[in-house]
Subunit: 485 residues, 2 copies
C-alpha cells in the first residue's frame, strides 16, 4: 500500500512554536508508525511529493527520512521508495492513538504482545534495523532455485559457497587469512561449542576460561564434562603467566581477545604473543571467541588474534548472531590444518551444519556486500546509542554507578560506587519487575570476589537514544530500592 | 514460459506400429524434458487443448501427465496447470537430442554435471518428486513475514510451531502421543546423535547397538567416546536376552524397530514388550531410530515402539531427510518427561536447533497437510520402484543374488548365492567404477561374520522403473568380474 500524502499532514496549527519542521515531521511520523496508522511495509510518498504537499524543502524531508531510517522506523529500498519497517524497534511504547481499524489493531497488538528485547538486554542486536527485505529476497531466491542436488544433500561442514564467502569476509574485516576448507559452519556459537566439546570430550580434556568471562562458555564446557579452570583477567586480558610453570597443560584456552567479556578491554599485543608462544609450547589450542569484534567505535578494530600467525594454534569462532540476527543461528569456526580432519569428522557424525537455504542466502549476503554495508551502518547506530547511554548514565546515575567506557562491543559495564555497594542479583531482580534486563556482573565469575564482583552489564544495542535518559532513571529507581551491603 | 502445443506434436508418421498413443506421447515428453527442449518450469498446455491438437482423448493426455508426474518429470500445480519439474530425475541419461539453443544447453549441462544420486545409493529419497514449488512458497512466506521477534531469537529446542506440528503428525502417522514440549528439533539424525552423546557422554556411558546395524550410529557413538556394545540381531530383531542377567546395564539401546537396518524385518511385538520391560528394570533408555517408518508397502506400517507405552523409556528419533529431503537437515527427538530437562539444557548450551525460517516453513508443510499427501504419493512411487527392482533382480540376477523381500523401507538386501560368494567390498569398488553405488552389507557389522556377512544393500528410491533392468545388468557385470571367494 502507498500512504496518501494527506495522512502525513503536519497539522501546522498544532505545531508548537520553537519546534523545527524537521522535528515536528519526525515526531509525527514516529507516532503514526507506533500507533499503527502507518502500518508495516507501507510505502511513503517521495520526498519531492511530500515536500510540495507540506511546503517544505525536499532536503528537509530527505533528512527526516534518513533520520527515521537510522532509527529503524523506515527502510529505504532504492528506486522502489521508502517504506515503514516490517519490524518495529524493540520495546517501543505505542503513542496514544485514535481508535484504529480492525486491521491496524491486529497488526499493532501483535507487536505490543511481542517485545523483542527489554532495555539493557545483552546479546540481542538492533534487529529492527536489519535489512529484512534484502534477506528475504535472497532466501526466496535460493528456495526457488534449489536444484535436486541442493535437496539431496547438505555438506555437514557447511555450504561450500558460504565457507568461501566467510573466508573472503574474514580476510578483509578481521585480517584472518584462511582457506574455505578451514571454515566449518556451526549452529551459532553454541553449536561451535558443541562441536569443540565433542572433539575434545571430558573429562580427559582440560579447558581454561577467563575469570570473569562469558558465563555461557563456562556452563557449556562444564555441562560437557571438560575440566574447566578459570584463569584471572587483568588489565591486559587473561593473566596466565603464573600457570605456566606448574600444573597440567590445557587443551583449549578460551579468550575474548577483541573486547574482553565482560570487562571490555582488548587482550594486549604483548599478551597475545606470549599466549601464542605458550600454546605452541604446550600443544594447546586457543579458541578466540570473536563475538563482536566488528563493533569498535574509537578507532579501527584490532585485528583478530588468529591473524597474528599463519596457521597458528588458534581456532577462530565467529557468529552471525550479532552482525546479522540471532534467529539465523549460524556461526563458524576457522580451524588450523592440524585439527581440521578431526573436527570435520565430528561435524559429519555428530554436529552437522543446518539446511542449505539459509546458508546459501547468507553466502550471498556476504558476497554481494550487504553484510559489510550493514556492519558500517550499525557501527554508526551503535556509536550513537552507546554515546546516549553513557551521557544518560553520567547525568542521571553518577551517584550510584561508575562507568569506564571501553572502545568497543555492545555493552557497558557499570560498577556500583564504592560507598554504594549493592547485590547486583538483587538489583537485577528489581529491574526485571520494571521490565528492564541488565545482567549482573557476578554471573560472569565462577567464584565471585568480595570486591569488584558486583556490577551491571548494560546492553545498548536495542536502546533508542530518545529513551536512554528515561530508562536510566528507571534503572536508578531499581538500584536505590535495593539495600546497601 | 508456456510450451507451444506444436512442440509436443507426436510426429505420427514416425510412430511405430503397436506403440500406443499413451506410450508414444510419454516417450516424446520424457525425451523433450531430458534434452532440455522442454526446460524446467515450462508450463504444459492443458490436457483439453493438447488433446484437441493431437486428436487424442482428453483422458489419454491426463493419463500421460499423471504418469510423468509420478515419475517426477512433471509437477501439477492445481489450477495453475502442469509444469516441467524444476529438478529432473536423478541420474537420468539425456536422450539423444537435436542441436540445442545456448540456453537449453546451459540448463542441461548443469544437470548433466550434477547427478544427484547414483543407482542403488542408499539414503537419498526421490528428491525430484518433492513438491519444491510448495516448499519454496512456504519458505518465502516466512522469510517475508519474519517479525523482529523471529529475528531476535530462535528457541534452541526448536520453533514452537514446528514442535507442535511434529507432535500432531506423529500422533496420526506413527501412533506416538507426545506433548509439543517433548519434541526437540535437531540437525537431522546426526544432530540427534550429537545431542544424545553430549547428554550421555563417554566413557562413563554405555550404548548397545544392533549387529548388524546402521554403521553411522555405531561410528558416531564410538567417536563420541561411549562404550559401544554390538548386540546380535535375529529374525525378531535385537536379541538381547542373553545379556540380561550378566554384565553392566546399558544407558542407551539403539534399535531400528520398523525395518531393521539393514536386514529389513520389524522388531517383533514380543521382543518390543520384553525390551520395554528390560529398559524399565535397568533404568535404560531405548532410542528408536525410526528412519523410514513411513514407508511400508504390503500392509499398514507398524506403530512405533514409542507408541506402546505412554511416557515409556523410549526416545523416538525421527528425521525429515527421507520424507522431505536430506538437504533440509531437520530431525527431532521425542523425549520422555524424565530426561526432558537434561536434554533441553544440552540443546540450549551445546546443540541448538537451526534458524527459524526453514523450521517455520516445515511446520506449515506438516500443518497444511502437504507432508501427508507427499508421503502417500511417495509410498506409491516407491512401491513401483521396489517392484521393478525386485522383478529385474529375479529376471536378470537370480544366478548371483538371493533376495528376500521385506515389507518396507527404501532398500533391498541382496545376498550372494551360496555357491557364488564374493567380497562385497570388491564388488562395490567395481560397481562404483560403473557409476553404481550399492552399499556393502559388511560395513553394517562391527565384526563381520564368516558366513552371512557379505551382501549388497540396493537403494531403490532414485531408481526409475524403466532403468531397473539395465542397471541390474550393469550391477551383474560388476559382480561377475569380481573373483569368487
Amino acid at each position: 500500500m502507498t500512504v496518501p500524502k494527506n495522512r502525513l499532514a503536519l497539522g501546522t496549527s498544532r505545531r508548537r512554536s520553537g519546534e523545527s519542521a524537521h522535528g515536528a515531521l519526525s515526531t509525527r511520523l514516529r507516532s503514526a508508525i507506533l500507533s499503527g496508522t502507518l502500518p508495516p511495509n507501507a510505502r511513503l510518498p517521495s520526498a519531492r511529493a511530500l515536500g510540495l504537499e507540506l511546503s517544505l524543502a525536499r532536503g528537509t524531508i530527505v533528512g527526516v527520512y534518513e533520520r527515521l531510517e537510522s532509527e529503524g522506523y523506515l527502510v529505504a529500498r532504492g528506486a522502489a521508495g521508502t517504506f515503514v519497517s516490517a519490524c518495529l524497534p524493540a520495546g517501543t511504547t505505542p503513542a496514544p492513538s485514535p481508535p484504529k481499524s480492525q486491521g491496524a489493531r491486529r497488526a499493532s497488538s501483535k507487536l505490543d504482545a511481542a517485545p523483542v528485547a527489554r532495555s539493557f538486554q545483552v546479546g540481542v542486536p538492533a534487529v529492527e534495523s536489519f535489512p529484512s527485505h534484502i534477506w528475504s529476497r535472497l532466501l526466496a531466491r535460493h528456495s526457488r532455485r534449489a536444484t535436486a542436488r541442493d535437496l539431496a544433500r547438505a555438506d555437514p561442514c557447511g555450504d561450500p559457497a558460504l565457507r568461501g564467502a566467510i573466508a573472503a569476509y574474514l580476510a578483509v574485516s578481521r585480517g584472518v587469512v584462511a582457506r574455505p576448507e578451514q571454515v566449518i559452519v556451526t549452529a551459532g556459537y553454541q553449536g561451535a561449542l558443541g562441536l569443540l566439546c565433542a572433539a575434545f570430550p571430558g573429562p580427559q580434556h582440560r579447558a581454561w576460561v577467563e575469570e570473569p568471562g562469558y558465563q555461557f562458555t563456562r556452563h557449556a564446557l562444564t555441562l560437557a564434562g571438560l575440566r574447566v579452570q578459570p584463569i584471572p583477567v587483568d588489565d591486559e586480558g587473561i593473566a596466565f603467566a603464573g600457570r605456566c610453570s606448574n600444573g597440567p597443560s590445557p587443551d583449549l584456552v578460551f579468550v575474548t581477545a577483541s573486547h574482553q567479556m565482560p570487562l571490555g578491554m582488548p587482550l594486549s599485543l604483548a599478551r597475545r604473543l606470549s599466549l601464542l608462544a605458550f600454546a605452541r609450547a604446550r600443544a594447546a589450542l586457543i579458541v578466540e571467541d570473536d563475538y563482536d569484534g566488528e563493533f569498535h567505535y574509537a578507532s579501527r578494530p584490532l585485528p583478530a588474534l588468529a591473524s597474528l600467525e599463519p596457521d597458528g594454534p588458534v581456532i577462530y569462532a565467529g557468529t552471525f548472531s550479532k552482525v546479522m540476527f540471532p534467529g539465523l543461528r549460524l556461526g563458524y569456526l576457522v580451524v588450523p590444518e592440524g585439527v581440521r580432519e578431526r573436527l570435520e569428522r565430528v561435524a559429519t557424525l555428530l554436529t552437522p551444519a543446518s539446511g542449505f537455504a539459509a546458508q546459501a542466502a547468507t553466502a550471498d549476503f556476504l558476497g554481494e556486500g550487504h553484510l559489510a554495508r550493514h556492519v558500517r551502518r550499525m557501527r554508526r547506530l551503535y556509536a550513537e546509542r552507546r554515546e546516549a547511554l553513557l551521557s544518560a548514565l553520567a547525568e542521571r546515575a553518577s551517584d550510584e554507578l561508575l562507568v569506564t567506557p571501553r572502545g568497543g562491543g555492545l555493552l557497558v559495564l557499570a560498577r556500583f560506587a564504592p560507598d554504594r555497594q549493592r547485590s547486583d542479583q538483587d538489583v537485577v531482580r528489581r529491574a526485571k519487575a520494571l521490565r528492564l534486563s541488565p545482567t549482573p556482573l557476578s554471573v560472569c565469575f565462577s567464584h565471585v570476589p568480595r570486591r569488584g564482583g558486583s556490577g551491571l552489564l548494560l546492553g545498548f544495542a536495542g536502546l533508542h537514544p530518545s529513551r536512554a535518559r528515561a530508562e536510566v532513571d528507571r534503572l536508578v529507581s531499581a538500584i536505590v530500592a535495593s539495600p546497601l551491603v
